[in-house]
């Protein structure tokens, strides 16, 4: 059933990485991404790659899941690799020179490098969503962006909208399911015909879905008012985000690896 899909692909657990303060996780993830782009040679990249694989080990997330996160980006990886393979012009003689294709050693090197970089990037970001529940992630984003409140950026409102969106994704998916079945029962053909016909067949699904979403929004707003909602000011939270020694230790580790990658750029 559509209902059973996991949102944000969160896999509950009790590892160090699961228990880390999600604000640290976000910041460290960003540092990791920067690290991938700072690394200029295979040595640096290898260190970054080994680091993230070890993190998956610590988080006790199956290798299969890691591969699953890579599935959607396979075309991008192949595309990048092919482009680099054929368009990088190196010194010396090309390894292959056939018709319009010329491949240099540098091309192979660069495309391999890019592939590893993109894969590490996705795997690294997936670790965050695999080990952090969406609601905590929202809390962390609200907390991290809170300095922007001084610039009148609606941080709380943004977080609230994200929470509500997450809350209603399963509800609306279920509803779409129901509407589709109802329209099929009345003879709508949703899976046949060309692209245009299929697109047109979506109209009788989307319109009831939108109408109902607006109704829900209206009722939800009233229910929120009944429960004394009045924006972010003076609001407390059930769950407090708290930094623990683990967070600082992991940060120190990431920074050490980062330092190594930078130094490595100059040495080799």
């Amino acid at each position: 059933m559509l209902k059973d899909i996991t949102i944000g692909q969160y896999f509950p657990g009790n590892s160090i990485i699961h228990r880390m303060d999600s604000r640290f996780k976000i910041v460290l993830d960003i540092i990791y991404v920067i690290m991938l782009f700072v690394a200029q040679n295979f040595m640096g990249l290898a260190v970054a790659a080994i680091f993230i694989f070890m993190a998956y080990g610590v988080a006790n997330i199956k290798f299969r899941l890691m591969l699953k996160s890579l599935k959607p980006i396979v075309p991008i990886v192949i595309f990048t690799a092919v482009l680099n393979l054929f368009f990088i012009k190196g010194e010396g003689n090309p390894l292959v020179d056939w018709w319009i294709f010329t491949i240099y050693w540098e091309g192979i090197e660069t495309s391999l490098f890019m592939m590893i970089r993109i894969i590490c990037l996705i795997v690294g970001m997936s670790l965050l969503t695999y080990t952090t529940s969406p609601i905590i992630l929202t809390d962390a984003i609200e907390s991290l962006l809170s300095p922007l409140k001084k610039l009148h950026f609606p941080v709380h409102e943004l977080a609230m909208m994200m929470t509500i969106a997450l809350r209603f994704i399963p509800t609306l998916i279920e509803e779409t399911d129901k509407i589709m079945m109802a329209q099929k029962a009345r003879g709508a053909s949703l899976d046949t015909g060309g692209l245009m016909k299929k697109a047109k067949a979506l109209v009788p699904i989307l319109i009831p879905l939108f109408v109902s979403a607006f109704k829900r929004a209206n009722e939800l707003a009233m229910a929120m008012e009944c429960r004394c909602y009045r924006g972010g000011e003076g609001r407390t939270r059930l769950r407090q985000l708290k930094a623990s020694p683990i967070d600082f230790a992991v940060t120190a580790l990431v920074l050490t690896v980062f330092g190594f990658v930078i130094v490595n750029n100059f040495i080799f």
């Binding site: 929470t163 809350r167 009722e219 939800l220 009233m222 008012e225 009944c226 004394c228 609001r235 059930l238």
Partner: protein, 293 residues
């Protein structure tokens, strides 16, 4: 002034109309939904409100916590005027509200977060939130589901979570607007039992809007509305013995009351004020000259 303390909700000549405006802001159509409602609801009472669709019962309910403010007349909650914007959150904390569709009133993706929502809004300290959330979840018997996400729960369970979210505010009164209308029979029973428990054990005043007569029969007092007016206001036994009047405004009576009514019409000697199955059974057995089993 004693009266002000005993009555949790009091309405005085309350009127409300919906207006349809044209592009220039002129009124082109107005529809009077409430036409002078005078009600007092004492603390601790379990009141059921009955009425045909469009009789104004939901509109009336929304006046009890200041979601709507009457075009004429006043509503007082614990003596506070609901039109007073400065005290609106006192009013809403005192009179909690539960709606029909459980899906559209849960805000958070995790049950306990949702129960905490109102308390977070009120600025209650985190430790106190924790305590009250646990207590509220235990009261509605949903503690073991605290880390579930709402879409994994049944309708009755979701509605109990919505009730927990309201009782966490520790209100004096809960207004429930057809909370059982979208539930299956099992969910209806669960919700009904929870409401009765709150009324009995915590002394919370209940205003229960419904169109199930069997549910209304369980209340202490029944208010019947028709076309924006209160037409009957009495204890359930007396209300349901007025079968013809109820039918005239498009309402039914509980099945057992209907049975006794038909039996009386056939000239059988049976009281008209029977509203529970137990009562009905006893009287019918008596007719056959048998004692209660």
């Amino acid at each position: 002034m004693i009266g002000d303390i005993v009555n949790i909700i009091e309405t005085k000549d309350l009127e409300f109309e919906y207006q349809t405006l044209d592009d220039d802001g002129k009124v082109i159509e107005s529809n009077k939904v409430l036409k002078g409602i005078n009600l007092t609801i004492p603390k601790g009472q379990f009141v059921a409100v009955l009425g045909h669709n469009g009789c104004g019962k939901s509109t009336l309910a929304k006046h009890f916590n200041g979601i709507l403010v009457g075009s004429k007349g006043k509503v007082f909650v614990n003596g506070i005027d609901t039109a007073d914007d400065d005290k609106i959150y006192d009013v809403r904390q005192n009179v909690g509200m539960v709606f029909q569709n459980p899906d559209n009133q849960l805000v958070a993706t995790i049950v306990e977060e949702d129960v905490a929502f109102a308390l977070e809004n009120l600025g209650v300290p985190p430790k106190e939130i924790r305590r009250r959330v646990d207590e509220a979840l235990n009261t509605v018997d949903m503690y073991k589901y605290r880390e579930h996400s709402p879409h994994q729960l049944s309708g009755g369970q979701k509605q109990r979570i919505a009730i927990a979210g309201v009782i966490a505010m520790e209100p004096d009164c809960i207004v429930l607007d057809e909370p059982t209308a979208m539930l299956d029979p099992k969910g209806r029973k669960e919700v009904m039992a929870t409401i009765k428990k709150l009324n009995r054990e915590k002394g919370i005043t209940i205003v229960f809007i419904t169109h199930y007569m069997e549910e209304a029969a369980q209340a202490e007092r029944v208010i019947v509305m028709d076309k924006g007016r209160v037409i009957m206001d009495d204890e359930p036994k007396k209300i349901f013995s007025r079968v013809e009047e109820l039918k005239a405004v498009g309402l039914d009576v509980p099945q057992v009351t209907e049975l006794c009514y038909e039996l009386r019409k056939e000239g059988i000697d049976i009281p008209q004020d029977i509203i529970t199955e137990q009562d009905c059974m006893e009287h019918i057995l008596k007719l056959f000259g048998k004692d209660v089993l």
